[in-house]
Amino acid sequence: MPSLKELNEKIASLKNTQKMTRTMKLVAASKMRRAQQAQANAADYAEELRRMLSGVAASVTGLDHPLLTPRDPAEKVMVLLYMSDRGLCGGFNNNLCRYMTNWVAEREAEEQAVSMSFCGRRGYTFFRRRCEVVQNYEGVADRPRYESAAEIGTGLMQAYTAGATDRVYLAYNRFRSALSQVPVVEQLLPVEQPAEDNAPADPLFEPEVSRLLERLLPDAIRFRVFHAMVENAAGEHAARMAAMDSATNNAGDLIDHYTLERNQARQAAITTELIEIVTGAESL
């Protein structure tokens, strides 16, 4: 049985830990609210953009654009991997790491050379020795800004048109709810043919439709890079909040357990002391 002093120290340190995890939880919760709002905004934008794209695609026959033309067979593929900059967010990064390790192995089995770029330090530290690293974008994961996403997107398009890679994928955790994030890999380039809505009216286009598409496509690609970034950020903060919440609860359980043990130890000490006094008095 540990001594009273040891138990008291343990309880004090657990209380400190609990204070920290509780604070981190609160911080993550407020960041999550903001990130979730950003995610909802981006989802609205995505919906409008998708409609616009399919409206344009419905009016163009035989789409022909370098960003739309697949190159088969693909020999070099590139992945932009989104993860958090910091840890302490449960299985958020590990799940995606595991998922991506399998995914990369599958591609390599098909004899495709896989290279990677990263948004978020965790992905970079995990994969830097396993894969060819193209670029690590730092400081963009926590609070996504469209400007930085646009820069990354432009870079990816340049790499694709220059022939440095035959396909570009985005890998990230999709934010389904505060409690569930799902790893996904999506093809960014070449752009898969936009689904044609059965648009009833034939809209007017300005400028003419093929020129319009030329403007719309790069914008849509840059936006998808941003959208994934936002999903990733919302997921990160949600995962951290959940992880810190359970850490706080676990610390609370341990504190209860050790407090009980300490009280028992204290009681035992008092009892022994009493017995000593009583026997001492009797012997007089």
């Binding site: 905004n41 609205d44 409008e48 469209y146 809209p203 936006f223």
Partner: protein, 108 residues
């Protein structure tokens, strides 16, 4: 007063309301949209977007983007949108945006 306008950026909603008309900076020159406009998709240049509702005018500066009209609803999607106080301030702001970063020309 029945043209529903929403101006969206990737980072959030810049404006949403029912208005009388808007005047948008298209790539081939400004154009106005009133209620009952034919469906249209247009690319925008960097410039001033004017929203007219009643006797009140609002001005925004947009950095490129697109506008879509369908069924008395107009959606503007743009990378960056800022409200400006007054038409002159908007024109000034648009001019500085244009010198900051010229519109990337689409690949031919």
């Amino acid at each position: 007063m029945a043209l529903a306008v929403s101006i969206l950026t990737p980072e959030g909603k810049a404006f949403e309301d029912e208005v009388y008309s808007i005047i948008a900076p298209g790539v081939n020159g400004s154009f106005g949209v009133l209620e009952g406009h034919a469906p249209m998709i247009a690319a925008l240049a960097t410039g001033v977007l004017k929203v007219v509702s009643g006797d009140e005018n609002r001005f925004f500066v947009v950095k490129g983007g697109f506008a879509e009209v369908r069924k008395d609803r107009l959606v503007v999607l743009s990378d960056r949108v800022e409200p400006a106080d007054g038409g002159d301030a908007a024109v000034e702001m648009a001019a500085t945006w244009m010198t900051e970063s010229p519109q990337p020309t689409p690949q031919e």
